[in-house]
Symmetry: C2
Subunit: 327 residues, 2 copies
């Protein structure tokens, strides 16, 4: 295992300390590193809390800040955070208007966020993202997995929360965005969890995992490495065939951590052309490492169908460590 770390046992704590120090203008690290929260909270606003296993950075802590999340709970690598982390985060950011939990559809995450919502004694609503069309159920999920589409839900709901939307409407909006979002991924290599020390899975020199999950869990099938265009053919067909609509869309080409920017833009170029042939016009784009699997090579495509409201909320200002723009 070749990693820039001191020890597997301390990597999460040290990276959180580094993250909080680097972005002290945006975030504050909670006691015992249970959560990352905004440095400046807005009373009277619905608070958005997410979280999940670490190793997917910048998801979720990189999306804490104005226009997006209020807090994120980092679990150990590829391990759900605990209910006490979520309860502490909810307590820290509760602005009196309720709390929305945004949860990727993995059994551990859903269970722990449910338990936290019940135990916290606060006004909490939970929404679950399940945008991955690759498989219907998987190693760690009943039903589809929640993957990179989660950041699109967080961005859009975050903008609405900033504008004063109430808890029930935010939950409905989040579910609507999730319903208009589809993703699929492909891996060319595995990743190595620091505490494990060896790759999560193995792929032959000429193989790829089509439909891979963000923990390296199996997808649809293991096949021979194919050109970018052929990969885009299959992924776009799966996404467009399932999304149930056409029109303007966001296209997110998300690197899993070990793929050069150049390749992500090759994939963007291929996917965009294929989507447009199917009547899905890419009017918003995001290309980069946003929902990673440590140093895995590969990428996912995510498409969200837009309407006027969703486009406006996507375009609204955001100021987080990993995503920032102004009108």
């Amino acid at each position: 295992m070749k990693k820039l770390i001191n020890a597997p046992a301390t990597v999460l704590a040290e990276s959180l300390d580094g993250f909080a120090a680097a972005h002290a203008d945006i975030v504050t690290l909670g006691p015992e590193r249970k959560f990352v929260r905004r440095a400046a909270l807005t009373p009277g606003k619905v608070a958005l809390v997410s979280g999940g296993g670490s190793g997917h950075e910048p998801l979720h802590a990189g999306f804490v800040g104005f226009g997006m999340l209020d807090a994120a709970c980092p679990g150990q690598v590829f391990t759900s955070p605990t209910p006490d982390q979520m309860i502490a985060a909810a307590e820290a950011v509760d602005g009196g208007a309720g709390i929305l939990f945004i949860v990727k559809n993995y059994e551990g995450d859903v269970m722990n966020f449910d338990m936290a919502a019940e135990m916290a004694g606060r006004d909490i609503v939970k929404i679950v993202t399940d945008d991955d069309v690759a498989v219907e159920t998987s190693t760690y999920s009943t039903g589809r997995r929640g993957v990179a589409g989660t950041l699109i839900v967080e961005k859009i709901v975050g903008a609405a929360a900033e504008a004063g939307t109430g808890l029930a409407d935010l939950a409905a909006l989040g579910r609507r965005v999730n319903g208009q979002t589809r993703s699929m991924g492909v891996a060319l290599t595995s990743c190595t969890v620091p505490a494990a020390g060896t790759p999560t899975f193995t792929l032959g020199e000429d193989e790829m995992e089509m439909g891979v999950g963000i923990h390296g869990e199996p997808g649809r099938r293991r096949v021979k490495l194919a050109p970018a265009d052929a990969i885009a053919d299959e992924m776009v067909a799966a996404i467009a065939g399932d999304i149930g609509g056409t029109g303007d869309a966001i296209l997110l080409v998300n690197g899993f951590g070990g793929t050069p920017s150049m390749e992500l833009y090759v994939m963007f170029n291929a996917a965009r052309a294929r989507l447009e042939r199917r009547g899905i016009k890419v009017t918003r784009a995001l290309v980069g490492n946003y929902v990673t699997s440590l140093e895995m090579a590969g990428c996912s495509l995510t498409v969200t169908l837009l309407d006027g409201e969703i486009a406006r909320l996507w375009d609204a200002p955001v100021q987080t460590a990993a995503l920032r723009w102004a009108m």
Copy 2:
């Protein structure tokens, strides 16, 4: 070679097409893909033009936009762009106030930008970045190499150009920022140039290259893999021992393309503490993949000493594909 590409011969063209389509609000691709320029130019402003071999993305095209570059010329992977690219870029962005070439210190780049400056028949001044303290001369450079500090020069000079500073003063400012900037890198793995198809160099399973260049060229020495703290010790000692000053500083922890975000923040945490013990206080931070070597695992540290003017210019708004913030 496992890459998300169609063919080595088309990867650059397809990635540039994807880049231009994804960021059409910010950039326009020049004829024959000779350069990437701002979509909206500002007449009367000094134009900033940079460029270099591809494979270092987002450098340089990702830094084209308001507050930073006016154009960037992408060479083939790890290959200098040609003088005719630079001449075409200069012609496209010349706003009548002169042109500043910002060039990383590699022999091919320096030679071609010199030739272009001579042939273009325009008011052009060139500045050269050489921030890498690892080696005094190297495979492709006479004198120190220009590495990740280049983006800091581009950002600060870009902000001054936006504010109306003239050509001679911008060149002086750029040289001053370069003079207050030092970098050093470490590689844990090689990268593979698509046209070559095999790794540029090989490292044993327990080895790293200390002081590596951004093309995988040799650094100071090949040593056993060490903990993050020990790596930071050596890099910070080299940087702080050479920079010739203390006080407030920018710390850029730059991933080479294959290193997880988590590890970059571990390195930030380690480097920041060591700099502060030496009287260098990190008041500005940037952590991520900014000057890459395709999918190489490893990172570089860059420190720029600040003064009031440089800090103000660093903080000024910037809107590019890869770097964006507002006041």
